[in-house]
Subunit: 763 residues, 2 copies
C-alpha cells in the first residue's frame, strides 16, 4: 500500500519538468493549497522539484532507473486498455531508435560541415581561390581544367598568401564550456555528475565554430575529442524533444554514451571502434541495449558523413591506408620498440601536461587565457611554418606518413633512388625497397625536427582554452617516430640483405619493410600510451586499414605501450584531467586495493559530532528546519528513535526543503510547532496536538542502501560503482552508525594515494 | 582487528584446494587438534573446504572477488619486501596473459584439427582417395596433375561410394555432458553456477571426437556452439595449471568468458565478433580487463587456425565473401522482408524446438537417445541425399549461396543464359544481371525443397544427444530464403527495367542485384531471429565480408528480425533451453517489469514457520546442529538475540557443518552442550560454564547484503544481477524479517510469467 503510493508519486513526478528553473517559475504562478489529508492522495500533483538535482551534484542511478521502470510499467499497463494507448506505447518504445537516428544524422552532418569548413580555412591560410573564395585549394584547382594532375598545386586560380595572420587571429573565440577536449567532462557527466549547460545549444554552436578555427589555425590539436563533445551536445539537445529522455537523467546518459560512440565514429570513420571506445573509455553505465543503439547511431553518422563526402574521396577519413606487403615475425622487435617509445612518451606527456595545467590553474598564467592562446598560436605558427611537416595539418601529416611509397609517388618522403633498370627491382615490383636518395634524407631531418617540435608543443597546447583533441597530435608524434624507424629498418635491410635476421625473408628487390606500417604502429603506440585505450584503439586502427593482417603488430605495440606507461603511472590523460579538476569520478577500471573497512571511511569520524539524523516522529517543523540549516549535508537518515537508532529511511535535503516550504505556503495550520511525521499513520498524540502534523512519508526513500561497518571498502566501492550510488548508510548490528558518500570514498582514495583529499571538489 | 583476522583467514583459504574431493582426502589424512584459543589465531591453517562450493550450487561473486583482491593485496605487499617476491608478483600479473595465449593456441589448434578431420570424414562418405585414404576429395584431386580445374571433380583417383553407411554409423558416440550445443550450460556456468565435470578433460575429448563425427554425418547442425564448449574446456583445463585461476571461481569465469570469444573467433574467423558475442550473449561478468584479454586470445586463436590452414585457402572460414556491386537504397525493402521472415522463423523455431525437447524430456522418447540419433541421421541421410543442396554440408551450402555468380561460374546456381555478344552485357561486365536458364530454375526448385527440409529437420536435430551448433543450420535456412528472394528480384529487375522502382539504378546490362548479398542478409536475419544476437551478429557478418558497405542491409534485417521475433516472445533459443533445464540463470537483458516489493518475495511467507536464525551467543552446539539438520537452507542469518532480531552476520551451512565437525573431532571439550559463540569476545558466562565455547566468528560473514522490506523488486533484481549475489537479507526498521535467494527471485519471476515456479531446480 505504502509503496504503491510512493510509486505513483514517482510516476507523476515525471510529468513535471525535471528542472529547477522551471520549478521556480511554476511555483511562482501559484498552486492550489492542499489540506494535510490530501498530501497522501496519490492523484494529487506532486511537488515540482522533488526528485530533481542541483547543478554540480551527482545523480542517484538507482532512483532514476527505478523511475524509468515505473514509467514503463505505467505505459505497459495502459496499453492493455485501449488501442490508442497501445499505439502510444509502441511510439514510446521506438522513440529511442528515432532519437538515435537523429543523433546520428545531426552529428554526421555537423562533422561533415566542420571538416569542410576547416579544410577551407586551412587552405585560406595559404591563399584564396580567385574563381570563388569558398573553394578550397583542391576544389579550386579541380575546376581549372588545363592543369594536369601532377601540376595541380600550381594552378593559376589559386593565389598563395605568405601571411600567417589568418592562422594566428582565428584561435581567439571562447566560451566557458567550449574549450578543451571535453572528454574528461563527458566521462564525469556520464558517471552521473550534473554540469548544466555543458551540453547545451550555446556550447554546441561556439564549440563548432571554435573547433573549425582551432583545427585550421595550425595548432597542434585534433578534432576527435571536440567531435565527441559536439555529438553529445547534439544528443542532449535532441533529448529535450523526447519526454522519456528529458525527464530521466539515467536514460539521457544512455543516449550520451551512444553519442560518444558517434563522435569517434565520425572522427575516424570507425563505427565499431567508436562503440568500443564509448564502452571502454567514456561510458559508466553501458547496458547491452545501449551497445546496439550506439552501433546504430554510429553507423548512421558514418554514412551521413560519407554522403557529405568532405574529403572528396568517398572515404570517411583523411588517412585511410592500404598496405600491400605482409609483415614478418621478426619485425615484432621494432614494433615492440615503438610500443616502448609510445608508453614512455605517453607517461611523460601526461606528467608534463598535468604539471603545465596545474601551473596554469595556480599561477597568474591562468588569468590570461586569450593571450596564452594567441602567443602559443603565434609561436606555433612561426616555428611550424618553415618545416613542411609541421606546417601541414596533423591529419594530412599522418596521412602522408601512413602512406606506402610506390615508384610514382612524388612526395619528398618517397625520395628514393629510382631503379636504373627494371630487373634490378625484382620483376617490376614498384614497391620494392630502394636506397634512400637526397629527398628522403632531407625529409628525415625535417621529420626529426617535427617530432621534437610536436612533442613539446602538444604538452602546452592540450588544456588551453580552445577546443583541442589529443588523438591527432599523439598519433602524429607516434607516426613520425614510426616512420623514422621504418625508413631506418628499410635502409638497414637494403644494405644488409645478408644479415642473419634479414636472411630468408628480405631478398634484394623485395618489398620487405613497409615504413608506412611502422608509422601506423607508432601512432597506435603513442595514442595508447597517452589514453591507455586498448581494444578500441586496435579496432579503430583495424577499421582504418581494413585488414586483420596488421592487427598483430598493432596489438603488440599497444600492449607494450600500455604496460610501459602503466609502470610509470596508472592514470590515462583523461583520468588525470578529471582528477586535476576535482570532479567526483569513481574510476571503474582501477581496483580498490586497500584493506580498509567501511567504518574507517564513513562519517562521522571519531572526533566529529554525531550523525545528523531525523526521527520518524516527534520532531517539529522548526526542529527539522534548524537541523537542516545547521548542516550542509544533502540528505538525512530517518530513524525510529534517537535511542534505538534503527534505520527507517533516507530523505534528501532538497526534497525536504521544498516540501516544508510548500507546506508552509499552502497547507493550512503548518507552523514551526507542527510535528513532522514520516510514519505511515500519524501518531495519536499529533491529533490532539496544537497543529496538524506534516506528513512527509511521500518523500522518504524507504529502501536506502546499507552496508555493515565490517564491510571491506573494496566491496563497498564495487557496490557504489556497479549500482551508481550517491550515498550508503553504515549500520552495526542493525543500528545506524554513519554514512558514506561518493565524495567520502574519493577522498579516502586520494588519501591512500597520498594526494590532497580536498582536491575532490564536488559530491 | 576483527576484519584483519577474517582477511587473513580468507587469504589462507586459498592455499588449500578449492575442491571438495580434495578436502575429503586431506581430512582423511588427519590434521592436528586445535585448542579453542588457537581457532582465533590468524596463523593457523584454515579448515579445508570452508569457502568452497558444492556441485550444482551458485557461487558468491562478491566473496570470490574479495578473495582475489585479498590475494592480490598480499602479493603486492610482499613484492615491496624482496626482489624475488617482486619477480613473483610480475609473474603473477602476466600469468593471465600467458593463460590467454595458451587458450588461444590450444583452441585454435583443436579447431583446425576438427575442421580437417570433419572435412576428411565428410568426403569419406562420398568416396575414398586411392592414392591415400587420408586425403580428402580436394587434396586427392590436386595431386592428380592431369585434371584441369573444371574437371577436378571427375579425377580418377577419387572413388565415389554410393553408400550412406559411413554417415549413418558415425553419429553414435555419447557422453553425458558432451551433447548439445553447450552454450546454454556455459551461459549458466558463467553466471556463477557450478556444474562439475562439464568443462573437464573427458568432456573435451569426447566432445571433440563426437563433434567431428556429428559434423561429418550430414545432420543439420553446425560446429560453433560445440567449438565454444571445446574452447571453454581448454580454458578450464589450462586454468588448473595456474593457482590464481584454479582457486577462484570468479577469476576462472573471466577466463571462460574469454574462451567463449575464442570459440566464435575460430568458428567464423571473426575475433572482434567473437569478443562481442561473448560480451553480448554469453558472459555475465565481463570487466574491461577481460574484454582486452578476450580480444588477445581470440586473435591468437584465429592466427593459429590460419597457420594450420584447414581449408587450404588461407582463409579462416569456408564462406568468406567478396561482393563487387553496391546495393541500392530501394533494396532495403526486400532486406526488411528477409528480416521479417527471419524473425518469424526464429520465433517459430524456438517454440517448435522447445516443444519437441519438452516432449523428449517427458515422454518415453527420452529413454532412447541413441536410437533417436540413429533414426534422425538415417532419415536425414535418406531425404537429404537426392538433393544436392541438402547433401552438401551446411558450411558448403552457405558458401555457395553467398557467392556472387561470374560469367565463368559453373555452379548450377549460376545457370544463367550466356550473353550472345559482349555488347549486350554492357561493356563486358562479367557480373551483369542475366536471365535465368534451365540450370538455375532447377536449382531454385531444389533450394525450395531444401529450405522446407532444413526448417523441419533442424527443429528435431537441435537438442538431440549429439554436439550440435545452431548457427550453421539457421544461417543455411536464411541463406536459402535470401538467395531465392535475390534471384527473384534479379529476374524481376531484368525483365522490368522500366518499372518505376528499378528506373535510374538498374539499367539493362548492369549488375544491379546481387543474389549472394540477399543470401547473406537472410542468413543474418534467421540467425538473429533464433539467437537474438544484435551487434555481435552484425560484426561477425562484417568480418566475413570485410566491408562497411554491407553493414546497413545486415543491420536493417537483423533489427527487423529481432523486433519481429521479440513480438512473439522475448526469449532467445539459449534462454529458452536454460529455462527448459531449470538452471538458475538471472537474465541480464530482460527488465524486471513488475511492481512487487522485497517483502512479497522473501521467505518466510506469512503462512510459513519463522525464519531459521542463529543467535550470536547463547546457543549450544547441539541446538545449532538440530536447527541445521531440521532445515535444508544453505545459510543462516545470525542475530544479536531472538528478541531484538538485529542482524549480525550470515553463516553458510557448509562452513558451519565443516567447522563443527572439525571442532568435535579435534578440539577438546567440544560437546553438544558447548556454547557456540559468534561474538568477538567470549561472553563471561561461557567461561564458568560446563565446556569451553566454540568460537565461530571466523566463518561468519560480517557484511551480509541487506535490503529493506520496502525495496522494489526491480531494484533488488538489479542488485542481484550486478553484484552476483546468492542471497540477500531483508530488514524492516533495522530488524531482520526474512531472506531472498536467487532461487526465490527466479521462482517469483516464473510465477509472474505464469510459469511453473517449481521448474527452477537449483539454487
Amino acid at each position: 500500500m505504502v509503496w504503491e503510493f510512493w510509486t505513483t508519486q514517482l510516476d507523476e513526478e515525471e510529468l513535471v519538468e525535471n528542472n529547477y528553473e522551471e520549478y521556480s517559475s511554476s511555483r511562482a504562478t501559484g498552486m492550489n493549497g492542499n489540506g494535510p489529508s490530501k498530501l497522501v492522495d496519490p492523484l494529487e500533483d506532486p511537488l515540482p522539484g522533488v526528485g530533481t538535482y542541483e547543478d554540480f551534484n551527482t545523480i542517484d542511478w538507482v532512483r532514476e532507473k527505478s523511475k524509468d521502470r515505473d514509467r514503463h510499467r505505467e505505459i505497459t499497463n495502459k496499453s492493455r486498455q485501449s488501442k490508442v494507448a497501445l499505439l502510444l506505447s509502441v511510439i514510446d518504445a521506438f522513440s529511442g531508435w528515432l532519437l538515435m537516428l537523429l543523433v546520428g544524422l545531426m552529428s554526421g552532418a555537423l562533422a561533415g560541415g566542420i571538416d569542410i569548413a576547416a579544410h577551407w580555412l586551412t587552405d585560406l591560410k595559404e591563399g584564396v581561390c580567385l574563381d570563388g573564395f569558398w573553394f578550397n585549394h583542391e576544389h579550386c584547382c579541380w575546376t581549372y581544367n588545363e592543369t594536369t594532375f601532377e601540376e595541380r598545386d600550381q594552378c593559376p586560380q589559386w593565389q598563395s598568401w605568405a601571411e600567417l595572420i589568418a592562422g594566428t587571429s582565428k584561435g581567439g573565440a571562447f566560451a566557458p564550456y567550449a574549450c578543451g577536449s571535453g572528454i574528461p567532462e563527458i566521462k564525469t557527466i556520464l558517471s552521473g555528475f550534473i554540469i548544466r549547460g555543458y551540453l547545451g545549444k550555446w556550447t554546441l554552436i561556439i564549440k563548432t565554430i571554435t573547433l573549425v578555427l582551432a583545427v585550421s589555425s595550425g595548432l597542434s590539436l585534433g578534432k576527435e575529442g571536440p567531435l565527441v563533445h559536439v555529438a553529445c551536445c547534439c544528443a542532449n539537445i535532441l533529448c529535450h524533444r523526447f519526454t522519456k529522455y528529458r525527464k530521466n537523467e539515467a536514460k539521457r546518459r544512455e543516449v550520451l554514451s551512444a553519442a560518444a560512440a558517434v563522435g569517434v565514429s565520425v572522427a575516424f570513420g570507425a563505427p565499431i571502434g567508436g562503440v568500443l571506445f564509448s564502452l571502454e573509455e567514456v561510458s559508466y553505465y553501458f547496458p547491452l541495449k545501449t551497445l546496439w543503439r550506439s552501433f546504430f547511431a554510429a553507423l548512421v553518422a558514418a554514412f551521413t558523413l560519407r554522403s557529405i563526402n568532405p574529403f572528396g574521396n568517398s572515404r570517411l577519413v583523411l588517412f585511410y591506408v592500404e598496405f600491400h606487403a605482409p609483415w614478418h615475425l621478426l619485425e615484432l622487435g621494432p614494433f615492440i620498440l615503438l610500443g616502448i617509445f609510445g608508453g614512455v612518451w605517453g607517461a611523460l606527456f601526461i606528467r608534463a601536461n598535468i604539471a603545465w595545467c596545474r601551473r596554469r590553474k595556480t599561477t597568474r598564467l591562468g588569468h590570461y587565457p586569450v593571450t596564452e592562446v594567441l602567443v602559443v598560436t603565434a609561436i606555433t605558427a612561426l616555428i611550424a611554418f618553415p618545416n613542411s611537416y609541421t606546417r601541414m595539418s596533423g591529419a594530412e601529416l599522418i596521412s602522408e606518413l601512413f602512406n606506402d611509397c610506390s615508384l610514382l609517388d612524388s612526395s619528398q618522403l618517397c625520395g628514393y633512388q629510382q631503379p636504373t633498370n627494371i630487373s634490378e627491382t625484382g620483376a617490376g615490383n614498384s614497391l620494392a625497397d630502394r636506397p634512400a636518395a637526397k629527398g628522403l634524407l632531407t625529409a628525415l631531418w625535417q621529420l626529426a625536427l617535427a617530432l621534437i617540435f610536436k612533442m613539446v608543443v602538444t604538452v602546452i597546447t592540450f588544456g588551453m582554452k580552445v577546443p583541442s583533441g589529443l588523438f591527432i597530435p599523439s598519433m602524429a608524434v607516434g607516426a613520425i617516430a614510426g616512420r623514422l624507424l621504418g625508413v631506418g629498418m628499410e635502409q638497414l635491410a637494403y644494405y644488409n640483405h645478408d644479415w642473419l635476421i634479414f636472411k630468408g625473408w628480405c631478398s634484394p628487390g623485395a618489398d620487405c619493410i613497409t615504413p608506412g606500417l611502422y608509422a601506423m604502429v607508432g601512432a597506435a603506440a603513442c595514442l595508447g600510451g597517452v589514453t591507455r585505450m586498448t581494444v578500441s584503439l586496435v579496432v579503430i586502427m583495424f577499421e582504418l586499414t581494413g585488414g586483420l593482417e596488421y592487427i598483430v603488430p598493432l596489438m603488440a605495440a599497444t600492449m607494450t605501450s600500455k604496460w610501459v606507461a602503466d609502470a610509470f603511472g596508472r592514470e590515462g590523460i583523461y583520468e588525470a584531467h578529471i582528477r586535476l579538476n576535482g570532479y567526483p569520478f569513481l574510476e571503474a577500471k582501477e581496483e580498490f586495493d586497500h584493506s580498509s573497512l567501511a567504518v574507517d571511511v564513513m562519517r562521522p569520524r571519531r572526533s566529529d559530532p554525531a550523525l545528523a539524523m531525523l526521527t520518524q516522529e516527534g520532531m517539529t517543523v522548526g526542529e527539522v528546519e534548524a537541523l537542516v540549516e545547521s548542516t550542509h549535508y544533502s540528505g538525512f537518515p530517518v530513524v525510529v528513535s534517537q535511542e534505538s537508532q534503527r534505520l527507517v529511511g533516507f530523505v534528501l535535503r532538497r526534497d525536504l526543503l521544498i516540501s516544508i516550504d510548500n507546506a508552509r505556503k499552502r497547507q493550512e495550520g503548518v507552523v514551526s510547532a507542527s510535528h513532522v511525521v514520516f510514519t505511515e499513520h500519524a501518531p495519536p498524540q499529533a491529533e490532539d496536538g496544537p497543529a496538524p502534523p506534516l506528513r512527509l512519508r511521500g518523500i522518504l526513500d524507504l529502501s536506502p542502501f546499507t552496508v555493515t561497518d565490517h564491510t571491506p571498502m573494496d566491496i563497498t566501492v564495487d557496490i557504489f560503482r556497479k549500482l551508481g550510488l550517491r550515498q550508503c548508510l553504515v549500520t552495526h548490528n542493525g543500528r545506524l552508525l554513519g554514512i558514506i558518500t561518493k565524495k567520502d570514498i574519493l577522498k579516502h582514495m586520494a588519501q591512500i594515494a597520498n594526494r590532497d583529499p580536498d582536491s575532490i571538489l564536488f559530491n
